[in-house]
Symmetry: C2
Subunit: 228 residues, 2 copies
């Protein structure tokens, strides 16, 4: 990316033409993101292990959303959001390594455990789900984002605007700029650069804190960055 | 704490009478917190390895702030904020174990490393600085808070109000309620419960992300929790 562009972090590219895929798009977070990005006018495809199920859920979402197998979804799209459960994360990405070559991959997976005291962060050998993705997908561009957005709010038709910032992390400025712009396509949301991929682990883990807040305050907590 | 109180997480105790100590109170974060809490009317004492230096810095802060050795500071106060560098954290708390017995200890230490790419989170064996404090101070009540508040803003006399929430973590409701109320004594700040101590590590580490934002956007970033 040019130095001129690098000089103003608030100047973001037009991403309205991008076709967006969502792996694990039949889950709550995946469906919610697919819905909001389709509402913003993007061509959205959700992927699932089961292509028929993907097509069925896509039909429920409407808004022109298509459903394919995870592999066909990856091949069909410019930007591919990874919204699968943490348990299947490494295996799926390893299987899709070829399909994701050269793609912009956006990891929003939160490695969390749950017990009777609520959610807690799991230790990840690579440091974070996003770093694990980057290690597996060494010929893709990996960015971390969309960890904290409430699936409940994304899916709620009564919610017009989502009052949260999306923290975007990555080592490549062009890629993080695109993902910040993509986040901002969701009404109410800003995409805020939040550091290199090596600092993604705590952002993923903070989802456990938001879950604690949700329990204590009976809310759908989000985060806004002040002074930006 | 009574069940009645537990029912409304927004109902917090009056803490205006509390005497507050700040260990490592001659550092930037410590001075900033001491200044704001003294402005709010608290009796504040800063501690340092060197009592003379503590007294001298206390005089510079003014507002009735006193300066003592870390040990005398710990013994003199109801609530003791730990604002020392991570490198000296375990050693100081081990040395002050007796002085801090029965006290409410508020850990705001961020275990961070720095290199030419900026700040990054250090792995902490106990999971977080706060959990390390709790392990050492097994006869104190340990709460984690004040990690993200910009020392620059705390110390800036032109800044009347700090636009940030303080995330408060702990395993004991009475203690987290007190620290939430204490945070709210700083004009502009809310204290928001953000989970148990086992989820403090990512809150400490998120300071690295705020530093990344500060660099990219030339700001003093803070966080607000939405929907709370």
């Amino acid at each position: 990316m040019s130095d001129a562009k690098a000089s103003d972090p608030r100047l973001l590219p037009d991403v309205s033409h991008l076709a967006v895929g969502v792996l694990g798009g039949t889950g709550e977070q995946g469906r919610g993101l697919a819905r909001r990005l389709a509402l913003a006018g993007h061509r959205v495809t959700i992927g699932s292990r089961d292509a028929d199920r993907a097509a069925s859920i896509a039909g429920e979402i409407g808004l022109g959303v298509a459903g394919l197998s995870n592999e066909d979804c990856a091949r069909a799209c410019d930007v591919v959001i990874v919204a699968v459960p943490w348990e299947g994360h490494a295996a799926l990405l390893t299987a899709l390594r070829d399909a994701l070559r050269g793609k912009l991959v956006v990891d929003c997976v939160n490695p969390l455990g749950f017990d009777k005291q609520g959610a807690f962060a799991l230790r990840v050998e690579e440091g974070s789900a996003a770093q694990q993705a980057a290690a597996i997908l060494d010929e893709s561009r990996v960015v971390a984002a969309f960890h904290h957005v409430s699936a409940v709010l994304l899916l709620d038709e009564a919610v017009d605007s989502i009052d949260t910032d999306v923290l975007v992390l990555g080592d490549d400025r062009e890629s993080t700029d695109i993902v910040q712009a993509l986040a901002a396509r969701i009404t109410g949301v800003r995409g805020v650069y939040a550091g290199r991929l090596r600092n993604a682990g705590q952002v993923e883990a903070t989802t456990a804190n938001l879950i604690s807040m949700n329990r204590r305050y009976k809310v759908h907590a989000g985060l806004r960055v002040t002074d930006v």
